[in-house]
Symmetry: C2
């Protein structure tokens, strides 16, 4: 059975919509473009990310997981801004039509889109090497967004959850034909990352700067330091490690593994009480891992002494 | 020299912005997401298109042309809605870093973005088979957009310019090692299509339905007919043909060649005078090629008699 581009959109994607509940979506999938509006007191926050087969996900990743992750990594970008996700556009390139694959893909997309009541407003399905780009937009009030550039000297630096779990999951997939039960958690962290959307929203008015960890903890913290024209000192003894036997591997993954999509954020002394209250209300572990300082760069400290630190996280063009 | 993803964005793309002149762009390239706003009386019109190497452009297409075309095809979608283009996000996958290629690509992008004073608000540059996705947004007042679904029985059907020229350009590239001077025009129609943005804006209040011709004249007219639940009769003796020697080839290209990015639109009898005035004010040829009728489907007529017609335009998954 041959499906045209138009039928693919109609059959698999046109139902990913809560349009009836979305007064701001005036025209969705099906015309040359979609028409949306933003409430008067809101601004639109827009991000986009591409996942390519063999680069951003292993060759045998399920269609469900590819769709889930493609949307999750974009949700994570909006989480890091403190925005409420609203709608997205999908660019899907596939080598050919496999209806089982499309069913899995649309199911994964629908699952995560449903959790956040997102509307799929349009997109492009076409032939090519397997690649998914999603452009996601959300709302934010006024100009209160969390930015990379707003860290201040004296802020404490916090991390949600634990980094390095996705990198260990990838290592498991690379080294074993079958994944044992204890490692399945780590593979799920790689394939179905959890965007910290709720945390990002809660940090509005509490955090100064924020970023999501996509390229590696140290690399992304360096982005905050550079954008904020300051430095950051990390306490190597406090950084949470993945629960694996090899502690040196755990430490490497925690510092430079990518694909975790946790949030790193900085909080001024005056807002520590508000943060403490927030921490008491969430099940998500939030750890103080360092402090913002004046001297530029990122330092890793062990009992106050600087220890060796690779600042390099995952950069696509350095991993050729 | 190795360039990281961050430096690629900074060096080649961060300058494609008129942010200082754009009160609606609050945060551009460089954070987890961009922040924009839409003026109170406007709605946002959003489209997205992907171009993959070897599918949407031949392997030896210049970087300048790839960028130009990737933006032009999106501009054409907004033209077909009657929207004013404002900003875009870029997803660029490349096998590796070639600075000459990036220079050409950013020059092409900057050229066309500059013509429309567009802001590049963000994107993702990553490793993968060569692929460009652009998501373009524009503004429109109220709910006056041109849609596929608004054709009415009795409307006349109009075409801007001439279809089939891009398809002939592709045929020239496929059959000849060098392109002679007389064919260069057709190759330029393929590689640097002209989005009819100004025409689309002028058609607000005049046209009922509108679509841009990306998949082929008949195929895209069929989209209007289906969305509007009507039929369309085309006069085969009036449809403009590319100026090439082989008239049968010209006719085939005009009817089913893709990549032209002309506009087809329908106009009610009561708006013919307004259209006539518009035609008198533009250098772009606009031809009445048919009429909207009640019986569903698209018919091609030769002196009132139906002639054979392939309704199939360019569909990516039928061209494997």
């Amino acid at each position: 059975m041959s499906l045209s581009e138009f039928n693919i959109i109609k059959q698999y994607f046109s139902s990913i919509s809560t349009k009836e509940n979305s007064p701001n979506i005036h025209l969705g999938v099906g015309d040359d473009a979609a028409i949306v509006s933003t409430p008067e007191n809101k601004k639109l926050v827009v991000c986009t990310d591409t996942l390519n087969e063999g680069i951003h996900f292993p060759l045998n990743t399920s269609a469900y997981d590819i769709a889930y992750k493609a949307l999750a990594v974009n949700l994570s970008d909006l989480a890091a801004m403190g925005a409420t996700p609203k709608w997205f556009a999908l660019n899907l390139s596939m080598p050919g039509i496999n209806e089982d694959w499309l069913t899995g893909f649309s199911t994964g997309l629908k699952q995560l889109a449903g959790e956040y009541q997102l509307d799929l407003i349009g997109g492009d399905t076409t032939r090519g090497p397997l690649s998914v780009s999603i452009t996601l937009a959300g709302h934010i009030e006024g100009v209160t967004a969390l930015m990379r550039s707003s860290a201040k000297v004296g802020d404490k630096v916090y991390l949600s959850g634990c980094t390095g779990e996705a990198a260990y999951g990838l290592a498991c997939l690379s080294s074993a034909a079958t994944i044992n039960d204890s490692d399945k958690y780590f593979v799920s962290r790689l394939n179905q990352p959890t965007a910290r959307v709720s945390l990002g929203l809660s940090l509005l008015g509490i955090a100064n700067a924020c970023i999501d960890i996509s390229d590696g903890l140290v690399a992304d913290i360096a982005h905050i330091a550079e954008a904020s024209q300051c430095g950051i000192e990390l306490d190597s003894n406090i950084i949470p490690l993945p629960a694996i036997a090899d502690k040196e591997q755990a430490r490497q993954h925690a510092l430079s593994g990518g694909d975790d999509y946790e949030l790193v954020f900085t909080v001024a002394p005056a807002r520590q009480a508000a943060l403490k209250q927030l921490i008491s209300q969430t099940d998500l572990p939030i750890t103080c891992i360092g402090e913002v300082v004046a001297a530029p760069g990122v330092l890793l400290l062990d009992n106050g002494r600087s220890v060796g630190l690779s600042r390099t996280g995952y950069e696509h063009f350095n991993n050729k």
